[in-house]
């Protein structure tokens, strides 16, 4: 496969896996938690690098999962101690991120990791770092990692579809049905961290937030059904990856940043034009008379 094809494939894989996970993030009102995890994953990667002195996929994954879980546990703990939810998210992730940046800029910086890379990703360099896989042949390491993570994400969504659906919409019901809500929560957080770290190499810490949240939020404006929302979100994610790549080539600029920008365009279009929950939909359908009658009764 050509250089461009590998980059496009990687971008599309990032778009797809992030946007599928993102649907549950949106429904659980945990968008800012994704923001937090995408930042703290940096610390996980740096720590893993400092311990093992290598940037292999497995070490990075483990570091990222630990960092992600640590973030959600710390946020929960502070929250239980009387700090507001969003303030505790803010304290935890900025601190861990700052530690990560300081570690990079003081001790690791010169070699493989640098701050620029961590923020924006280096999708343009991905096709050159290949490994040999028995059946598939020479494929870029980051692309392989993303493929594996995408499969894990899809398998997890299929396996826990019902559980996550109920815990997302009605946690109390889920608990009463005997679904282990806390375990599901941490499993989900672990999955978010894995997806984030797999995308990290390609799009960096902050653009991954765009890929996680924006396609899912756009899909949320088009439908009320979870399955449709998953499909739409995945589609939007892949399309933004493609459009983003096009914009980047056209303007000769950062690919990951253009992908984030493209998700924004899709969201703006959905927000304005969606006939279901967009502005246009509201204009076309004036408030239902039934609702008026109800409020009149009250």
């Amino acid at each position: 496969m050509s250089y461009t094809a590998w980059i496009l494939l990687t971008a599309v894989l990032v778009g797809l896996s992030c946007s599928l996970i993102g649907v549950f993030l949106i429904l659980r009102k945990m968008a800012m938690m994704a923001d937090a995890i995408s930042h703290t994953v940096l610390l996980g990667i740096v720590t893993a690098y400092l311990i093992t002195r290598s940037l292999s996929g497995v070490h990075m994954l483990i570091g990222a999962i630990v960092a992600g879980l640590l973030t959600s546990i710390l946020v929960q703990w502070l929250n239980n101690r009387g700090v507001q939810q969003d303030a505790s998210i803010g304290v935890v992730f900025t601190t861990l991120f700052a530690i990560g940046v300081v570690l990079i800029s003081t001790s690791v910086g010169n070699v493989h990791l640098d701050v620029q890379h961590a923020l924006m990703g280096e999708i343009a360099f991905i096709p050159w770092k290949t490994i040999n896989v028995p059946i598939l042949g020479e494929i870029p390491e980051a692309t392989l990692l993303l493929l594996v993570v995408l499969i894990i994400v899809i398998v997890a969504i299929i396996a826990f579809y019902k559980e996550w659906k109920i815990t997302s919409f009605d946690p109390a019901l889920a608990a009463s049905l005997g679904i282990p809500v806390a375990a599901m929560h941490y499993l989900f957080m672990g999955l978010v961290s894995v997806t984030t770290v797999a995308s990290f190499d390609a799009v960096g810490a902050i653009m991954v937030v765009a890929m996680l949240i924006t396609p899912a939020a756009s899909a949320y404006l088009w439908t009320d059904r979870l399955l449709v929302m998953l499909g739409l979100s995945g589609g939007f994610g892949m399309v933004s990856a493609g459009i983003g790549y096009g914009i980047a080539v056209l303007l000769d600029t950062s690919i990951s940043a253009s992908m984030a920008f493209a998700t924004g365009i899709i969201f703006l279009l959905s927000f304005l034009l969606s006939p279901v929950h967009g502005l246009l939909g509201r204009k076309l359908r004036p408030p239902k008379p039934i609702e008026d009658a109800q409020t009149a009764h009250i």
């Binding site: 304290v91 940046v101 923020l119 949240i213 998700t263 924004g264």
Partner: protein, 311 residues
């Protein structure tokens, strides 16, 4: 020795003083944001400032602090309006809207920054420094401007202190007194954005929010009174700004923002453990006290029982 040497340079002293004022202003505004439950809003807005900075640089062609700050403020305000609009006009929740604005605006900023870096060659005036902050690059005019803006913010918070208190804790009463909630809200957003954009050169867009969030949360562990919270938060923020700047000056090219945040986080950790109100240690001691108390009556009860049986 090196620290002492740095401290004796007059330029460093000014930078130090200005980051201290910045920290104080941020700490004070952070308390308002905390009680408005908008801690993460400051994070979204500071990221959203990036495209404004780059665009004003592109229009002007060189780095002028004043113009950059105006650009940053316009784009942060635009971000705030978009978050508000999306939340009100659609079913998308506020946290999703903040995540979208944060990441898409930041993406736009990086897109433009990449173009500027490519076209302007090596002479792009260190725009990269706006991401993590680099207090060492500040010249005297930047320092003066930052101090001036920080003083404005500190003054707005202190002079209108009673009004802010009412606005945050009893808005309906405030309205009854004839205060305009809309006006206060506008002023609040204005001061918040002002604080964020003036700190961007020293602390950077990514970590500016930390300087608003962490000191105010730390101050909460020491007091129940809003006035003391604001004062303590200002002290924590000011010390973090000053100490962080000194530490980051020890190494060449070390970013300022992360060090300031780590100092602030250290204050937070100390507050979390030793804080007078809801601190970890105090709670542990209280728990032990309660356990003792719980034991005592049962012993009395027991002894009474024994007495009765004997009698």
């Amino acid at each position: 020795m090196k620290a002492l040497h740095i401290l004796l340079l007059s330029n460093t002293q000014w930078v130090l003083f200005s980051t201290m004022l910045l920290g104080m202003a941020a700490g004070m505004i952070g308390c308002l944001a905390y009680w408005k439950r908008q801690s993460l809003m400051s994070d979204a807005l500071s990221h959203a400032a990036l495209p404004g900075i780059v665009i004003s640089f592109m229009l002007l062609g060189y780095k002028n602090m004043f113009v950059l700050i105006i650009g940053a403020a316009i784009s942060a305000l635009l971000g705030a309006c978009l978050i508000q609009w999306v939340t009100v006009a659609s079913r998308v929740k506020e946290d999703s809207a903040m995540g979208i604005v944060l990441s898409v605006f930041f993406g736009m900023g990086i897109m433009l920054l990449t173009i500027v870096n490519r076209t302007a060659g090596g002479n792009q005036g260190g725009l990269d420094n706006f991401i993590f902050g680099q207090a060492a690059t500040m010249v005297r005019s930047d320092v003066d401007m930052m101090m001036f803006l920080a003083l404005i913010v500190i003054l707005i918070v202190t002079i209108l202190f009673k009004e802010w208190k009412l606005f945050l804790f009893d808005p309906s009463f405030a309205q009854g007194l004839g205060m305009s909630l809309r006006g206060m809200n506008l002023l609040y957003t204005f001061v918040l954005v002002l604080t964020i954009v003036m700190g961007i050169q020293a602390v950077g867009v990514i970590l500016m929010a930390a300087l608003l969030i962490i000191p105010s949360v730390s101050a909460r562990y020491w007091t129940q009174s809003f006035g003391w919270m604001v004062a303590l938060s200002a002290i924590f923020g000011g010390l973090s700004g000053a100490i962080g700047t000194v530490v980051s000056a020890l190494g060449t090219g070390w970013p300022t923002g992360p060090f300031i945040v780590i100092v602030a986080a250290t204050f937070f950790a100390v507050s979390l453990i030793f804080g007078k109100h809801k601190g970890w240690l105090v709670q542990k001691l209280e728990l032990r006290e309660k356990q003792k108390e719980a034991k005592r009556p049962s012993q009395q009860h027991l002894s009474r029982k024994i007495l009765k049986e004997e009698g």
